[in-house]
Symmetry: C2
Subunit: 383 residues, 2 copies
Amino acid sequence: MTLDQIETPAALIDRVRMKRNIARMQSRMDTLGVAFRPHVKTAKCVEVAQAQRDAGARGITVSTLKEAEQFFAAGFSDILYAVGIVASKLPRALALRRAGCDLKLIVDNLESAQAVAEFGRTHGESFEVWIEIDTDGHRSGVQPDEPRLLDIGRMLHGDGNGGSHHGARLGGVMTHAGSSYDLNTPDALAALAEQERAGCVRAAGRLRNEGLPCDVVSVGSTPTALAAQHLKGVTEVRAGVYVFFDLVMRNVGVCTTGDLALSVLTTVIGHQVDKGWAILDAGWMAMSRDRGTAKQTHDYGYGQPCTLDGAPLDGYMLTGANQEHGILANVDHPDRDISVHLPVGTRLLILPNHACATGAQFPAYQALSDEGEVAVWNRFYGW
Amino acid sequence: MTLDQIETPAALIDRVRMKRNIARMQSRMDTLGVAFRPHVKTAKCVEVAQAQRDAGARGITVSTLKEAEQFFAAGFSDILYAVGIVASKLPRALALRRAGCDLKLIVDNLESAQAVAEFGRTHGESFEVWIEIDTDGHRSGVQPDEPRLLDIGRMLHGDGNGGSHHGARLGGVMTHAGSSYDLNTPDALAALAEQERAGCVRAAGRLRNEGLPCDVVSVGSTPTALAAQHLKGVTEVRAGVYVFFDLVMRNVGVCTTGDLALSVLTTVIGHQVDKGWAILDAGWMAMSRDRGTAKQTHDYGYGQPCTLDGAPLDGYMLTGANQEHGILANVDHPDRDISVHLPVGTRLLILPNHACATGAQFPAYQALSDEGEVAVWNRFYGW
């Protein structure tokens, strides 16, 4: 199959760019001397994760137990489920561990730590649990200096004998400086990367000073991973969206539009000539409702249109989106000849604001090789 | 299965409310003396469309050819594909018609009308095509008084002999006053409903005055359908989101929060007590990125939390959302006791901004009966 034969809208992966993005991140991690555990929530696609592993990644990070199940079934065993576990989800986690999956859980509160230990004890399983650390205040996690960090650590470690007698064991600490998405200068990103590193290492130190084990110190987000000057005390880094990058990351300053490996293939289906609009068959159902660039330095609307060879149509953007209609226009210079420039049937690529959100709208990717051949790579969704 | 046994996050349908919404709309259409053709893009679920048909709906409207294929396979034959057709999609439309589906297409330009007629002629098929009319300037369509309306009509009608000799036949006109979502008073809605009706009827009159056939005059959006005072000259109405309603519709003023039939079941997985936050396992992947209430009179953030019996938690909302994390907070009165009020493990319902976008994030609905029993209703996605 070639690009011409794909029905629109479609989610297109540029495999050359994807491989370059994977190599760039892995090379940086190798230089910094840390293991790399990609977050596979971005693509939810086995072929993408295999490419990351082939490049040197060790283990994966997931955002749902469904991802854990799907990737375990596809041959991935070392899996971190990086959303705080609660009691009601423990039976599924148990089933994965009993099937041989080296699944790690995270908690950021005493109630959940206790629930894991008790459930594990009841079922003769010792869950490996990491403590989530809050290093930038953007979401969940225990702050590095909070007293309860040690309470949670002791709850997980139990009497220290570990094994199935206790039900849980403390494997390490992890943090995610997600506020990095709000920054846009190298200095600010490097400073946040250092804050992320230092906070997580400090938390690990406090646990160890209490005699608690803390083998893993795991940090990361795409921007901080690429901005970190050193990662002393860190054992592994996690990042997800770097594999495709997107317009939000372009505005953060960690890639260019030429690095974006995911786009939406679309067809012009009509015009409103008086307004200078072309109407596309890619609306928000294809692009997602993500407007992540709205508050950034460059607002791309619902996405940046490009010709099929990847060249951005400068000045044009998706100014609006209904469920299955996108509106393409030149905002500053309304194009009254748009039906001549982009006649009905014209095919375009739209670069998305947020690759994780756009990818999630599609059952499969069309993965384009450097020779112009297209392979179908399935993805999954749900929980 | 009961509510307690459902894993979170989950998309919950309150069947009692859904049936009430369906009955309300159908009763209104019956009173206005028009046929009703629900838009099934909202739920993409056979059981929901069956309930609409059982209540009196005639035919369905779809937003993708995949919907047409799925609903045709489930026993629906009278299907309007309400997005402008382009040449590349005609083979799929042809396959549906050859399989016996009474599929109708729409166009708003001469190129597409010509493409349909030529493709139909080549393949011995006479496609029924309606012309899309633009009655409020919000998206696609031909304005009622544009000269090209008649050119398109003549292109579709051909020499008037119809049948497979020509490849297309003109079935009618249709319009969608989607700008109704921007309104919020009964008077403004009634005025737009009249504008939608009058514009579409005027377009039909112009075609008929030229000797062209125009059996169908199809109008609608949920707000205008519910606000129309009369529908003289209209043969059918289309509406979609009314089946669930949502917070956007509540702000438009056509329903109350007590009518909302779709919600997301979620679990509290942690807290940031200093900030008054509860962290939920429903982030934007569950709620969608839709922020449709942001510019309305009441901004609900990413959604309105309710207790399991459907009572809204006044003052609280989803103030933020990451992929699998939602942040619940009381914006005006930060709740420092939130971990006491909503401890880890608490289950809540979140009413969504936009039912079409939220439903699309889930592979299935959990449909709750008035007796508290839950059935799984599959939905589909993609194109």
